[in-house]
Every structure is written in C-alpha cells, then in structure tokens.
Amino acid sequence: MSAEPEVIAPPRRVDYLNVRYGVKSWLLTTDHKRIAILYLISVTFFFAIGGLMAALIRLELLTPEGDIFQSEFYNRIFTTHGVMMVFFFMIPAIPSVLGNFLIPLMIGAKDLAFPRINLLSWYLYIVGALLAFYATVHGGLDTGWTFYTPYSTVYANGWVVLTGVGVFIAGFSSILTGLNFIVTIHTMRAPGMTWGRLPLFCWSMYATGIIQILGTPVIAITLLLVVAERVFHLGIFNPAQGGDPVLYQHLFWFYSHPAVYIMILPAMAVISELITAFSRKPIFGYKFIAASSMAIAGLSFLVWGHHMFVSGQSIYAGLVFSILSFLVAVPSAIKVFNWTATMYRGSVSYQTPMLYAIGFIGLFTFGGLTGLFLASMGLDIHVHDTYFIVAHFHYIMVGGTIMAYLGGLHFWWPKISGKLYPELWSRVSAWIIFIGFNLTFFPQFILGYLGMPRRYHAYPEEFQVLNVLSTAGASILGIGYVIPLVYFFWSMRYGKDASANPWGVTGLEWQTPSPPPTENFPETPIVTNEPYDYLTAAREAAVRG
C-alpha cells in the first residue's frame, strides 16, 4: 500500500490558472474563468480612474470657493467620474467578473454556451473603454454622463463623439454578455438542475440578462443618433430644427433606468448567496426571491419617466410613472424581508463576506427608502438635481452594488485564486468601507435637502461643515478600497491554500477543486438536492462523521 511514498512527489494538480502560461494564453482564452479574470483586472483599472475623479471632486468641494478647478474643468471631472463608473465599472462589474466565473460552475456546465462570443465581449468592452479613456486623457467632455441634447449635440466643447462611440461599443459587450448568460442558463444546466433548483445568483443574473438585451440596444441607437446629429447636424434632438430634446431624455432613460437594475440585480444575486451561506439555513422564500428578480426586471422598463418630472413631461405621464416607481419597492422589499427571515434563527457567522452582506442590506434599504421620496412628484420637484439624489443613488450604487461586489469577491476568492485572504485585514477593511461610505454620503442627504444643487464646483459657506465631513469620509472610503487590493495580491503569493469548500456551504461551485480545472468538473455533476439544502448537508456530514 505505502510503497515509496516519499519518492513520488504528489503530481501538481492542473487547474485553469496553471494549465497554460504566457500573455497569449490569456488574451486568446475562451475559458469563462480566465475571461472573468481579464474583466476583473480591467474593471478594477477603470474603477481606479473613476475613483480618482471622485477624489478630485471631493477635494474641490472641501472649500466653498471654486479654488482648485475652473467650473469648466470641474464639469469634465464629474462627467468622467460618471461615464467611467457607470458604463465601464458598475454595469460590467458583477455580471462580467462574478457572473462569468460562476454561472457555468453553479449550473454544472463546462463553459458558457458561446465561449468565443464571451471573449469577443471582453474585447468590445476594452475597445469601448479605451476610446472613452483616450477622450478623457485628451481633455474629456463636459456633458455629464447623461449626454443631454442639444447641449451634447450642438454646444458642448469636448469629445462627445469619441465617448459616445466608446459607450456604444461597450454596450454591445453588455448585450453579448447578457445573451450568453440567458442562453447558457436555458441550455447548459446539468442533469437534475431544474429551474426550481437554480441558485438564486443565476436567477438574478438571468433577470439582468433580460434587461441587458432589451435595454442596451435602445441606448445604442440613441447614442448613434447623437453622434450622427453632432457630425452631420441632423437636428433630431435639436429644437432649433424642430427636434425634441425631451424625446432624447425618454430614449436615454428607457435604457438608463433599467441600467440601474443591471447594476443592482447582480448585487442582489450575490447577497442571496452570502446570506444563506453564512446563516447555514435554506434561504427563506426561494420562489419569492427568484420571482422578485424577474418582477424587478419587468418593472424596470416602466419607470423611466421619474427622471423627467421637471423636464416638461405631461403631468399625467408623471403620475403614472410615479405610481409605477412606487411599485418597484414591492419586489425589493420582498428580497430584504426574505434575507432577514433567512438570518432569523440561523447559525449566523460574521465572516467578511457576511459583513458586506449585512452592510448591503442596511445601505440598500436606506437607499431604497429615499428612492420613494424621489418617486413622489411633489417631493422630487424640491430635491431634483440636488445632493439628495446624489446621496440616494450612491447608497444604491456604492453602498449596494460595490458592497455586494466586494462581498462576493471575498466569498468566491478562494475559488477564483485557490488561496485564502487574511481574515483580520478583510474584516478591518469591511468596517472602514462601511464607516467611510456613510460619512461620505449621509451628509449629502442633508446638503441636498437644504438645497445644495449637484454639479457645481462652488457653494455657499453654510454648507461647508457637511462638505468637509463628506470629503473626510471619502478619504476613509478610499483607504478601505486600497486595503483589499493589497491583500488580494498578497494572498495570491502568501495566502494559505484553499480547500474545495472552505466555507462548508452548498452549491455546485464548491464541489470542484479550488481553483477549478479548465472544464470545471472532473465529470458532469448530477443534482439531486434542493438548493441551499443545509439540513441534508448537515445530516450527510454527520453520517460521514
């Protein structure tokens, strides 16, 4: 039995990371896990650019006078912040990194349905992002990330066309990712992986995919018209030529409101997994959470008009959009209640991903409730275009999406890298991020309510205290983001090796080694358990002793 154990070195396990080396093996890969890594690196880069712009904004707002930048340059800074964060970080972040990595693993497939289209999607993203980046480096643009006409098409002095084309191209990346996810979830599920057993992560990604394929083409054509209008002076959105700027806003928000759900649904996808994993309990209300993802996707297309309460839209349209916007609170609340009910009487452990998940629930609830303020027309007219709305959407986008993204990255990092990150540092940074975030954005609610408008580089002196608090919070938040970057790199070299299932949780992705082999599973898994079946899992563990 034990003949010469010391002579034969254990053969090095081949996984997706060490199967091939070299730049070419990465740039031409069709492995969904490697493409996820490509996305991870690139979205982090553009997050850093967007973050740098945020730092400049907060620096300027430290004092009431516009003393660092001229207003013209300040406009370019917040535009770049918005464009980079929305189109090149927030929209691709969770779907393209975690979704790409996890969906095939979670459903027991070898890859996404279209591996080459997946790679194409990354290249489209890179081309689009680099065009926008080139525009930024050469002076940027000052239209705001919304490209409102006729300013963007006639008067703006900046790289509207190049940035528009960049966003257009990146849009196709988003469409192809969504298409790939939808087809994969439909056709590649392992035997026994019925729709009712599909992890909630996949349900939410499926809902995201639907928004991506239905919404994104509309912004694509709209930006194409903006570019055509700017180049050929067509006048489709220019009132001087009979065009209608409000039509532009309708078309823009027809995508860009659902786009908010492209950013938050994947975050909810992550949170559903984290809450149940660290409560060691089957998720409460599986069907309701799955259905609420689909409901959010559906409703997302019916609420765009709440961005236009003061744009000269008819008051009756405003009323309908207001009521429909309130309805979005229903599926969102269903999720929050089910997550809390899952934690109730669970064996909750407060490891780093769970800290992020609990932080998410609090901040998302806060952001969501302030969203109801904005959905009611009377109040919205008061706080429209103030810091109240800036605070509201940052609670959803930063407090929601980025918290979930980081939580998910920590949770699946052992699977992605095969290494464990340092637990103490990660808990410290989770707390720093939570504190820094609230200090940055809570004062902005008050500022907005008091009437400080967004997008100005100077403000009356009585707003200074709150602005200083916000800037102080932003510096803390910045430190909180740098720490994980450092220890993730550190862990790749010095971290302990992760076992296949370091958290001891259910889910197919934890039944294959960490990091997984190129084709994910040694043999196609057969699913016999319900999702998040911690009772059976505990019983089996007890039987094994």
Binding site: D111, V183, P217, V218, Q241, G242
Partner: protein, 223 residues
C-alpha cells in the same frame, strides 16, 4: 458511469465538446440568434419611436416630404427583397435536405438580389443629394413645406442607412457561408450557420417591410 461512454453515433466535426450533444449545441445557437434578433428589434425600435413621435407632431411636413420619395424605386426594392427572402429560405431548405449542389446557387442568388437592392438604394440617395434633400448644411426646404421636413429626411437616412448597413453585413455573412459550403461543410446533421444567417436575413427583410409603408406609403397622394 453513463456519461463516460462515448455516444453511439459520431457527432459531426463542428461539434463543440462543452455541449452535451449536437442537439444541445443547435438549440443554444438558435436561441442565441433569436435573442440577438430581439435586441435588433429594440435597436431599430428607438428610431421607429422617434419617427412616430415626429410624424404625429409634424404630420403635414412628413407627408409632404414622404411624397418626394420615389415610390417606384421603393416598390421595386420591396419586391427584390421579398424575392431574396425566398432564395434564402431555399438555401436553408437545400442545406437541411442535403441538396448540397443547390446551396451555393441559392446563396449567390440571395447576394445578387441584396446587391440589386443596395444599388437601387444608392440611386435613390444620389437623387436626394442632387435635389438638396439631404439634411445638413446643403439642405433646401422643399417647396410648400416647412423646416421639420428636414427631420423626415434625417430619419429617412438614419433608418434606411442602418438597414442598408445590416444588408451589407448580411451579404458578408452570405459570402462566408459560400466559402464554407464550397468546402462541403454543410450536411443535414450540421447546417446551423445557414439556418442562423437565414434568420438574420429574414429579419432584415422584415425591417424593410415596416420601413417601406412608414416612409413611402403613409399619407401618399401622388405616384
């Protein structure tokens, strides 16, 4: 283990092994194409929305400008495209039925008809240039109409231009199919590319079926 046993019938060489079998691969490809076409509907949908909004606002100018389009050329092109849909459908049939000698002639006929359409479209565009009916610096407001007639032509060029771009891409795809067909790649077991390009081609035709009445026919009062 049942999975480890190789399947009894050999899969065609185009089989990608991350799928369970060829049927699953075909289903995925086909679903992928349909989903893509859904995005295309929304892509054109933005411009159709703009058209509907402005036609409602500037009915007189839109109808007047519409009368300046050459309905004969438009009708001829409609017939040409419907013919091309027929030849495309026949190419799909030929590849599925294993009539390999017929695939290339039908594909060529589709390319030819598509090119005729584009040629006629070019003639129409040329006329518009000569009559100063192209929006922009050289646009001259047609007699009896007001400024919003320029909007009609803006939308006309954007919509038909984007449609023509889809035709050009379609002709590229058809040429690629011909190269593959020459190598004898299409068999009754594997003809997915022909099938999918066929779907795409029919979709582009259907877009025109909507464009033609909207741009040429609505409110027409002269030939």
């Amino acid at each position: 283990m049942a999975e480890a046993v190789p399947t009894a019938h050999a899969e065609p060489p185009q089989f990608q092994h991350h799928f369970v079998d060829m049927a699953a691969q075909r289903e995925a490809s086909s679903l992928g194409m349909w989903v893509f076409l859904v995005t295309e509907v929304l892509f054109f949908g933005g411009m159709f929305t703009a058209y509907v909004v402005y036609r409602a606002s500037f009915r007189h100018d839109f109808e007047g400008a519409s009368n300046l389009l050459d309905i004969r050329l438009g009708a001829f092109n409609t017939a040409v495209l419907i013919m091309s849909s027929l030849t495309m459908a026949l190419a799909v049939w030929a590849s599925a039925a294993g009539r390999r000698k017929l695939i290339i002639p039908f594909l060529l006929a589709t390319i030819l008809l598509g090119s005729v359409f584009l040629g006629v479209k070019f003639l129409e565009y040329k006329q518009k240039f000569e009559h100063h009916e192209v929006p922009g610096a050289h646009f001259v407001v047609p007699e009896g109409l007001a400024k919003p007639s320029e909007l009609f032509f803006s939308l006309y060029f954007c919509m038909t231009g984007l449609h023509a771009l889809h035709m050009i891409i379609g002709i590229g795809l058809l040429s690629w199919l011909i190269l593959k067909a020459r190598r004898g790649e299409f068999t009754p077991q594997y003809n997915t590319p022909v099938d999918l390009v066929g779907l795409y081609w029919h979709f582009v035709d259907i877009v025109w079926i909507f464009l033609f009445p909207l741009l040429y026919l609505l409110g027409r009062h002269t030939l």
